[in-house]
Symmetry: none
Subunit: 187 residues, 4 copies
DNA sequence: TATGAATGAGTCTTCATTCAT
DNA sequence: AATGAATGAAGACTCATTCAT
């Protein structure tokens, strides 16, 4: 089906571009198992492909945030839900990191701002409810979260980490950081 | 002086390329305050520039690891030393992440392997001495470390985090992760 | 057909480069009736084009020498055969003269050495059999031969000599020189 | 003396450019034993240098033709005089051949046309006086003359011919060609 | 739909030239 | 006068894109 084809191309593109930001259209087409012509029919122009990838990434991330239901229940548990939901989005996030934020569809900026706000708000809630430490800013926690998610995705694709350990790896780093005062450790 | 100029170009290049992996030679030159031709005089060809940047990154990182003296003293304290030493290297590491590992000078592979081994060995030591948790592999800890360091560097350059908080931000995430069982938290 | 195109480009390149050693890729492409990019598709890089041209020249010249069957029959008649065979090679030889011998494919040096040897040997045979004068060295006769052939080709392309007179022009200069003592003239 | 310096640069430039048409200004300066700055002071711009070289070549060639006094005495003897006079001009002629006639000072075209006319006229005179064969056009004889002169110069600089044999080599090829019917030979 | 040919546009690279020491 | 630094201008090269098969 055409939709499948489209999705397949998007996934393959994300995978490849996350690794090789400068990959040529030829290589992208090959990695998706289609011809250049087909690639061009689905996404007329490299620009278009990148924009669509970013939009898809934003949509997937928004969906993940929504699914995680960050406003409900204990914040530490919500973090785990968020990580779980982000697993399938991770390759797309990695791609964006690689592209250096140069791509930007029209409505995308606001979407990412919204996502950023959602996460920031969530971390702030955790702090206000006394579940998260106060020593780190919500902004940095958000950045660190994205960083660990994309890094885990990268480590998995490099074979340095088992695919099934994604949630564990991110969670086992992030949760202690969120809930444990560093002073407790040093002391 | 010529050496100064060279160093200035390298720094500017690292800064810019970390943000825009596809930055044109024009922009790189401009960011360093010289003309394209001058940039080419110092580093003949984009390839050369990237290779040199990678070599410099490897050298700086090796030096940082050496300075941190990872084999001595309590592992948690050594981690802090390592983070401190890495602060100035971070922009170069960020650059490498962006380039997707496509660059590689001749002797560099072994250098990075050595660095990787040093860090992996260090995290393993911490685990064996009971100072670090056993729930995460040394390989992932190494990746997570690099991830947080580069991310913090990026957040600072984006103005999302104060420059003086570099060590604190990375440490306050990494140390709890290294020393606290996640089960303790969930429970 | 692709092969035709390739040959057409080679011929046009030889023609043009023989006249304008520094011709730009633009002009070469234009003279072949294709775009720069297409020219680059067939011959990636100016270097490659020149190397291929030299190889083709060497092959053509070797074939011409072989066809002339220099070892058989009266030497003066063989010279005429050689000139006839060289007519189509002449533009390529002219090109090489212009490039100043800077181009050199890997196996080409030996090929040219072989051609040089063949001609030198031929002229020596003529001398030993008493058909050619002894007052000029085989080496110079070889050089003079190449010189006249390329010059005739040039004169024709400049419209100073009729194309059909190629063999006559070269032969009528070379044959008397080979067979007549200068002393006979002066005297 | 300044004039000496200038002449030395011109000679070295002619020598080098005859061999390497694309030689860089750096190399030209080095071959003349002066610095780039000095080269630029004497000849502001590559264009200028080439134009001057062409002018000098034309002047020298005109002088050679004048010295040979082509209108006087037996034509065959005049040819020898011409060759003798051309020996020192040969490197400059070789240079022009290499540059593909792209250079052209303002007054130069007429100068070369004049030279060409002088030689053509001379060969025609020889033919009309029955001293030269009628089977070759004056235009081709002129071209062949230049060809042999430059070729001999090249062979000498390559070490394939002894420097002292210049006149002999050119004369022993050209004179028989001018005075002997090819039909006499074949027959 | 896939493939090969062709090209325009944009980037990279080089070199002649000037300036300062 | 010579050398090293710097640059504008010009050319080489690559790649995304289109077309024809």
């Amino acid at each position: 089906m055409a939709e499948d084809q489209r999705a397949r191309i998007l996934d393959a593109s994300a995978q490849l571009l996350a690794r090789q930001p400068n990959a040529r259209m030829d290589d992208i087409a090959k990695s998706a198992g289609v011809s250049r012509a087909t690639l061009h029919r689905y996404f007329p122009g490299r620009e278009t492909l990148l924009v669509v990838l970013e939009q898809v990434a934003a949509e997937k991330m928004q969906a993940a945030v929504a699914m995680a239901d960050l406003a409900s229940g204990p914040a530490p548990v919500a973090v785990i839900r968020l990580i779980e939901e982000c697993e399938s989005v991770a390759p797309y996030l990695a791609l964006l990191y690689q592209q250096g934020g140069e791509v930007s569809a029209d409505g995308s900026y606001s979407r990412w701002a919204e996502i950023d706000t959602d996460l920031t708000t969530f971390f702030r809630r955790g702090q206000q409810q006394g579940e998260f430490v106060l020593t780190l800013t919500p902004a940095w926690l958000t950045d660190a979260f994205f960083s660990l998610v994309t890094s885990a995705s990268w480590s998995i694709s490099e074979g340095r980490v088992a695919a099934r350990d994604f949630v564990h790896c991110v969670g086992a780093v992030l949760l202690p950081a969120l809930t444990t005062e560093r002073s407790e450790i040093i002391a």
